[in-house]
Amino acid sequence: MTSHEASGDRWFDREAGPVVRPYALTMGRTRPAGGASFDLIDVVIAASDRMPEHFRPAPEHRRILSLCRRPTPIVDLTSEMDLPLGVVRVLLGDLASEGLVRVMSTQRQPANDQRLLRMVLDGLESL
């Protein structure tokens, strides 16, 4: 064994960061399937446990499913997964197009939603 080989498995450690580039997890895809657009504060919930036969979930897909058993905003999901937002969106697109998660859109024009604004105001004033 040469000295080069002896040290070969020490090239990468935790501090070197991830060995796999983030979008390798999505096989290079940078946009969700079907052109879906998911906002940071949209809420995801697992919709089914039954994997379609043709769908081969990656570990990250399974992790998302387990985190969204309870309704979870995408921003919290992304923070919890410790993956970049763009990657999480692509993985969510896969799951949504297989019917495994549902993504509930939030109000895109919240200034027109007096009920939501009142909730926020009451919440803040109660702090």
Binding site: T30, L40, P73, V87, L127
Partner: protein
């Protein structure tokens, strides 16, 4: 339409915290909310390609931003998120991402460096996003009357200006309350309704 609520999940809302570098955005968010990390890695938009010098890095098509956000959970199943807008020009693409669907924005101003918040004000005015000015009263910073600040920032008469101390939870709470009240009272002019 608010699908979240009818499905029993949380209702979510977001507020942007903007202003120049070092003005106290992170301190403000930390004073009132739980801070969590967020990683984003986005394909470069045309706009950021123009700003980043990509000559000699021909394969680089994504750019990474590590940022924090604040989260406040209320007993009413509401979760309010506070997002600080990234300061560097190369992260402009993140602003659009953060701005869509936001209730509005707090532009933090430091009276020693008033010009630092011009870019934020321009962005929110251009995109029709309601904002208020919060003047962070640093120890030793010159105190100005709100109307002097309005003139210095060329603001219209309707935009609220509040004084605050971003380290104090109650003060930050009052800033956020001021923003939400302003939005509830119909801050937007009809010609500023659309985003982007």
């Amino acid at each position: 339409m608010d699908l979240n609520h009818s499905d029993g999940g949380p209702s979510t809302a977001k507020i942007l915290i903007s202003g120049g570098f070092g003005v106290g955005k992170t301190t403000l968010v930390g004073a009132i909310s739980e801070i969590r990390p967020l990683r984003t890695e986005e394909p470069m938009s045309d706009r950021s390609v123009g700003i980043d010098d990509t000559r000699g890095v021909s394969a680089k098509t994504t750019t990474t931003v590590a940022m924090d956000f604040g989260r406040i959970s209320f007993p009413s199943q509401l979760v309010l998120y506070l997002f600080g807008t990234p300061g560097q020009a190369r992260f402009w693409f993140m602003w659009d991402e953060l701005a869509i669907g936001a209730i509005g924005a707090v532009v933090l101003a430091d009276t020693r460096r008033v010009a630092d918040c011009f870019a934020s004000i321009d962005y929110f005015e251009h995109n029709g996003i309601p904002f208020i000015i919060a003047v962070n009263c640093f120890d030793g910073a010159p105190r100005f009357e709100p109307e002097d600040i309005r003139i210095a920032l060329s603001l219209g008469p309707g935009v609220p200006i509040v004084l605050c101390d971003v380290r104090q939870r109650d003060s930050v709470k009052q800033v956020l309350v001021s923003l939400v009240r302003y939005v509830m009272n119909g801050s937007r002019r009809p010609d500023q309704m659309s985003i982007g």
